[in-house]
Symmetry: C2
Subunit: 463 residues, 2 copies
């Protein structure tokens, strides 16, 4: 039998061990945004270093001002084998609200979530530990079957993807020579549907900002001062309510500069995918699209920019009631960018929007978060075509090229710093509840994800 | 020397012991709105029962579905002595944000807050433990000087004033005969300024409502769903921003029904008090009045109704950033009422305002809190006149009759259930930071407050 067949067989044969290894990684509480979990992030990084070393990678944990990077190299079977850089992240989102989890988020398990459908449950099962382990286990299968890897592989695992990747750019700049390859493979995206694999070629950018409105120098009794003292929650509500007009468009000055209408044939191809608003939103208990009127949900989430309030707080939020006028109120706001929107310009426009609505006596402070432009990748480069064919060989339906609502800043950094194009390919499903309680990753995503990478490594081995 | 002189002398002589006793009460963490502190509330009530019993009161702790009431009776010196019902509350507000307290909130101390100006610090120092103890200590001074009290006194101390007084009405109804008197004395209000005592004759009412907007059935990734899924924080911000128009008026339908313009001569008398917006707001770091345009801060806070957001929360509010669209968002909103505004009508108008702004797919839930109309008391009843004269004898400047921004629902309940008018007289100052970190009560407020009640009891002893 061919090396490919042997590697696929090896992958299937060791699936149980592969799951055990994934569970080991899922048990580590690597929440990167909360400094309290820094030691857990380091543990996750070291866990991966050990794992890759056992596969013959020259692997090391690299310190950064934040959480460490995992870097690993494998020479491949032949000296002239094509060289690829694989990227994933070992950090995960916070788990609040904890009371909504059916099982403890860091105690992974296999559950039957529908008749004949099993899933791996736990924080990070899908985003991104389960995904990155599909590649690691594919390498293990190739090693078991052929003693080596068909391609030369460099692996970069990050520990700050869920907290704005502050250390990533400096690290890429400082280690550009070591990390250069012919193309990057990024596994942090999803399938089109459970039967149809997808390669993402359009990604929205992201700008985040935390804004705090300050009024009186202390909390006030709303009976004594109500009607005379400025209330930061009123001011902030007005600021956030004014972010959208009645048609759902974002009102910031110049917000749509650099936003081009999506070509009709692209919209048509998306329409042909036949996903209605009911399909898209039904899985989360909604059915009527919000946001910009007169656009499909795929266009809204793949090709249009947005402004979203991700969090807001101020005043008394405990049990019972407290008649207080808060001294300050805060919100976390993020913008998804498309086309040529400039992150710095969007941030400046938001701050101008806030300050135009700031009454006398009140002040504002900001905490910026992230800032990455949108990305457009080639639809039909040789690597994309080989990957699409390999995916089509594995799954029931042919692979499709799609847009993506989420931003993966690493892709822009690979382009700008390493001069590398990326192929974005992953096996998550829209009902994986990433960033939410009860995150899961279908057992099929994991098993066929490993087999997919086994096939892709074979396909990419030949120039 | 007269009994009055002797009682005043006794009050001065035992001031240190009076402070020690107050500190004992201030050390009890009787936060009524948080169920976790229920045992502390009971402790505070029992502490007062023991205190009053030591003064010859027939005192008892009365269970309610919530926190217990303290009821105590003293027959007074003569069988035909006039009979008064004294009210105060032993519960206190929550202490968050704790990190803004200079000293632990339940470790009272005496601090020099300005050259020659000392204050008692701690949660409840002013609202209302310090205030109610001025009356208890005045009784003690009378007992020390004359062996009895010049009036017949019934005392009612409540433990739920800061959490909506759910048990109060049923308790008054069930014990109306026992609690009846000729007039009620309520000590939960403030001075006009540090030299001028005040009797409050106009009180705003209160309606509270907690509102929660529900959208998707789980938190969503704002990258995957942003632009298509309803965001409860956007919806709630719009609802709250729309509560006021650009002139500061509340927009609820029929909100101003029953609100009369304040008579010109009353406004003139308030203007003659000479308190500018800078005076009123300067103490809390503000200077420009918010709220209804074209009205003085005294009219805004004494004679005009308001809508205030007291708390709001939703989405990710922890450290760092989380690109989430929350499943729900909540706010605590309260309305101050004047004139003949109907609390039920205001609550209904608010709910209609919310539901008119609720998009398809979204639902709303409410948790009502309190609901009391505004109160207008006589300016010149014999009891008010005697009280005003007694206060004028004690303080540097003559007592004044004023309005009040805060609501004291008990006054309406005394009217409606016991048929009693109330005299509202207290010694708090506007910089006492009640409901805020670093609450305090001036030592002068406490010492002269005791002396004031000594004088008032003397003045009210004669019909």
């Amino acid at each position: 039998m061919t090396d490919l067949t042997a590697a696929l067989t090896a992958a299937d044969a060791s699936l149980d061990e592969s799951l055990e290894r994934l569970f080991g990684l899922l048990r580590i509480q690597s929440i990167s945004t909360d400094p309290a979990y820094a030691p857990e992030c380091r543990r996750a990084g070291q866990w991966l270093v050990d794992e890759l070393a056992s596969l013959g990678f020259e692997a090391s944990l690299r310190d950064t001002p934040g959480h460490p990077m995992v870097v690993a190299h494998h020479a491949g079977a032949t000296p002239d084998a094509p060289h690829y850089l694989f990227y994933g992240h070992y950090d995960v989102q916070p788990v609040d609200p904890l009371d909504l989890w059916t099982d403890p988020p860091f105690e992974p398990a296999i559950k039957e979530i529908a008749p004949g459908r099993k899933a791996i449950t736990g924080r990070g099962a899908s985003d991104d530990k389960g995904q990155l382990m599909t590649f690691v286990e594919a390498c293990r299968a190739w090693k078991a079957a052929s003693g080596s890897l068909p391609c030369r592989i460099t692996i970069l695992f990050e520990g700050e993807e869920e907290s704005g990747s502050p250390s990533l750019k400096p690290f890429l700049e400082a280690n550009a020579e070591e990390l250069k390859a012919e193309c990057a493979l990024v596994c942090d995206t999803g399938m089109w549907d459970p039967e149809t694999p997808a390669i993402a070629v359009a990604l929205r950018g992201l700008v985040g900002e935390e804004v705090t409105i300050h009024a009186a120098d202390r909390d006030l009794h709303s009976g004594l001062f109500g009607g005379a003292a400025a209330n930061p929650l009123h001011i902030l509500s007005k600021i956030l309510a004014d972010l959208h007009d009645e048609t759902g468009r974002v009102t910031l000055d110049g917000f749509y500069d650099g936003v081009e209408e999506t070509p009709a044939q692209v919209l048509a191809s998306w329409d042909s995918l036949g996903r209605t608003a009911e399909d898209f939103l039904g899985g989360v208990g909604l059915s009527v699209p919000s946001g910009e009127q007169g656009r499909s949900v795929l266009e809204q989430t793949w090709a249009r920019p947005t402004a979203e309030v991700n969090g807001m707080w101020g005043g008394y939020t405990g049990e019972g009631f407290k008649t207080v006028i808060a001294a300050k109120a805060s919100a976390k706001v993020s913008f998804r960018l498309v086309g040529k929107q400039d992150p710095d310009q969007v941030r400046a426009a938001f701050r101008a929007h806030v300050e135009a609505r700031l009454p006398a006596n009140c002040t504002v402070s900001y905490a910026p978060h992230g800032g990455s432009p949108a990305i457009q990748l080639p639809f039909d480069s040789p690597v994309v075509t080989k990957t699409r064919n390999a995916l089509t060989d594995e799954w029931p339906k042919p692979a499709v090229t799609i847009g993506m609502g989420g931003s993966i800043p690493i892709v822009g950094d690979f382009q700008n710093i390493l001069g590398l194009q990326s192929v974005l390919c992953g096996y998550g499903l829209t009902d994986d509840r990433i960033h939410s309680p009860n995150e899961k990753y279908d057992l099929t995503s994991f098993a066929k994800g490993i087999r997919s990478w086994v096939r892709i490594l074979d396909a990419l081995a030949t120039r």
